[in-house]
Symmetry: C2
Subunit: 403 residues, 2 copies
């Protein structure tokens, strides 16, 4: 019977996947709502903004197309739109350098599968977007953390070098970063690119939040750094820039032909990405609109409001992010997951409570992030300020308060 | 320099993926067209039929939805539509037994990842849908072939038992089968289910072509066999039944809660399946239409036309498939890939040539399939009959003819 039972359990690799604190907190949020509380969700990177009208119109128009399999690499017209989009950002790529993917998630998975083999190590500045860990795990890879610099700046290239082993195959960065809002400057990319070149590593660059930068132009792309054509693999997505998470459209981009051949072979196994979704974004990609400017202005205002409101709470610190739409705050608490659960279970301010993301999940180094939370600025400023007030009042009452 | 160069090659696992003969033949087809030839494509499982009008209307309506991330398991309304669809087929499942996927391709990948670990073996009746091999390869699994019975009937359960080793974890069947059209009868599923039960194996059942059966009702689902709840994982897709390949919507279905928890965890890593595509098919799934009956009648007529036309060609044999829309034919040739290439390079009948799928790719046993081709009945009967005439004339002229 033991053998039989073992035969019917799920695979070890799936049961080994990290369980996110959000999964544990979600039932508590539902219970709080059932008790009549308003839960302000600061936990999800799901924008509250509408996509550009051109995206919705293009989606309607696309329903007139035949619903045949697209080519595995993407519909030629959609790939051409991406080439045009990148050209607007002074990134010169050809159609053959691009494969359209099911969002950044599939792009990340394809990037890891195409560049790394089971047992390989991937260096990643921490804190990092938590799902990297599970995606790497499914690909059989080990993430090795490198600390970001002081104030969530780019990691010190020497700190990267020190962690390179014979098993190291890639460095995975995210700029602007989810969760920290770190924007890698051109010189940061050059320095990290030099490390990648010296050690023969891939530089996997997640540029999902490219345009959402608060001071100055969009974040420089790793593709714009000379001499790194063989190294750079960009992961991209329209989810945030077009507020179109539900379309699930991204890309993987590299000028390394061996990598793109491998990506295309892997992409062929899932046949294609949906036609309507590819076409929905193609028009907006090819013809830049004022839309993205209003998105950036919106997040700039919101992030400033959150940072200012948090600054008024005794014992709370945070760095103003350079881009993205998250704010990481350090709280005077014993454990931010316990605090997050307590907020949902025990606390309300005039009927309002908040759901925050504990940051422990965004670190691999044990113990790190235990006093940090991530706030997603996916509400209007008044709601975000209200949420910060709830956090402030909660901290005054929380039994696990430290310092 | 060697180390550096090695660092920039694609991963071993991606370069180890089998290259399909179709990939090698595709440039030849393009060249033939460039020389002014008409190429009748018999090689792709891309239906020429239109999806039901309700699907297109639902897609248009869905563009009015917010494009937010769907839940990883699927939009509740879409999952409910699948529950209703399965109930119409007398398959009682609950919402928690279903995860909506990016077509059968993602369902296959999730099924393998959730049930098997690297190094595990999966038994598969051959010939089988060729991409199984690459999907298994990426998941680190080894496919072990079991021959189908005479006339492409279900495999002998004893032949399955004989191939079970301590590493065997699952049996992967496809009914109606791509490429052979084998429809597993209820008693076949019971017998194979008994093998799975005795050995503690998962029974992964690809039921993409469920309704496309030429004699009698839809193919019985593995989910309808009692006593196999822990074992059965169904892979499904709307691509063929709704002629909606471009939507990329499928499901993975199991009553084994550990497996579905693992599938959900894996699905969370890719966040969600597109909203518009999920909703496009929900309405048609929930309210069965006469549509599928006309699809079945269409393929019944086409398959009969192809089988009859092939029967007139000296030296050619084929079994009439019980379902699906492919016909596997045995030809008097030295090598069907060489013949397929020669058709495109050298042969035309009044300007027409054909592209067929060599079957070697659908077998793991070396040498098998070398005299077989697969014909996809994705054209009207007149075109298919014309294509068979081209094949007949080509065989009379082919220098590598045998027997």
């Amino acid at each position: 019977m033991t053998g039989r039972q073992a035969g019917l359990a799920a695979s070890r690799r799936s049961t080994a996947l990290p369980v996110s604190p959000i999964r544990r907190l979600m039932p508590l949020a539902e219970e709080a709502k059932a008790r009549g509380r308003r839960v302000i969700h600061l936990n999800i990177g799901q924008p509250d903004l509408d996509p550009p009208p051109s995206v919705m119109q293009a989606a309607v128009d696309a329903t007139g197309e035949r619903l045949a399999y697209a080519p595995s690499r993407g519909l030629p017209s959609a790939v051409a739109a991406w080439v045009t989009y990148y050209r607007h950002h002074s990134i010169e790529v050809e159609a053959g350098d691009i494969v359209i993917t099911g969002g950044a998630s599939e792009a990340l998975s394809l990037a890891m599968l195409a560049t790394c083999d089971p047992g390989d190590e991937v260096l990643v500045p921490e804190p990092f977007y938590a799902p990297y860990q599970g995606i790497a795990g499914v690909a059989g890879l080990r993430l090795v953390p490198v600390p970001l610099g002081p104030g969530f700046t780019h990691p010190n290239p020497e700190a990267v070098r020190e962690r390179i082993t014979p098993a190291t195959r890639a460095l995975l960065i995210c700029s602007p970063s989810n969760p920290t809002g770190t924007v890698y400057r051109r010189e940061d990319l050059i320095a990290l690119g030099q490390v990648a070149r010296d050690a023969g590593l891939f530089l996997l660059s997640d540029e999902t939040y490219r345009e959402i930068v608060f001071d100055g132009p969009p974040a420089p792309s790793a593709l714009s750094i000379p001499g790194l054509d063989e190294h750079v693999v960009v992961i991209d997505s329209v989810s945030k820039r077009f507020n179109a998470c539900g379309l699930r459209i991204g890309t993987i981009v590299s000028r390394n032909p061996a990598v793109m051949a491998a990506v295309a072979d892997l992409a062929e196994l899932r046949l294609a990405v949906p036609v309507i979704d590819q076409l929905a974004v193609a028009r907006a990609l090819a013809a830049p609109e004022p839309y993205i400017g209003t998105v950036v202005a919106t997040y700039r205002e919101r992030v400033a409001a959150v940072v200012a409101a948090l600054a008024e709470i005794p014992g709370v610190t945070c760095h103003r992010p350079g881009g993205g739409f998250y704010v990481v705050a350090r709280l005077p608490v014993d454990d931010s997951e316990r605090f997050a659960a307590w907020l949902l279970r025990e606390f309300a301010l005039d009927g309002d409570t908040v759901m925050v993301t504990p940051m422990s999940d965004f670190y691999l180094t044990p113990g790190r992030g235990r006093d940090e939370i991530r706030i997603a600025c996916v509400h209007d400023p008044a709601t975000l300020i209200r949420a910060a007030r709830v956090i402030g009042a909660a901290l005054a009452a929380y039994p696990g308060r430290t310092g």
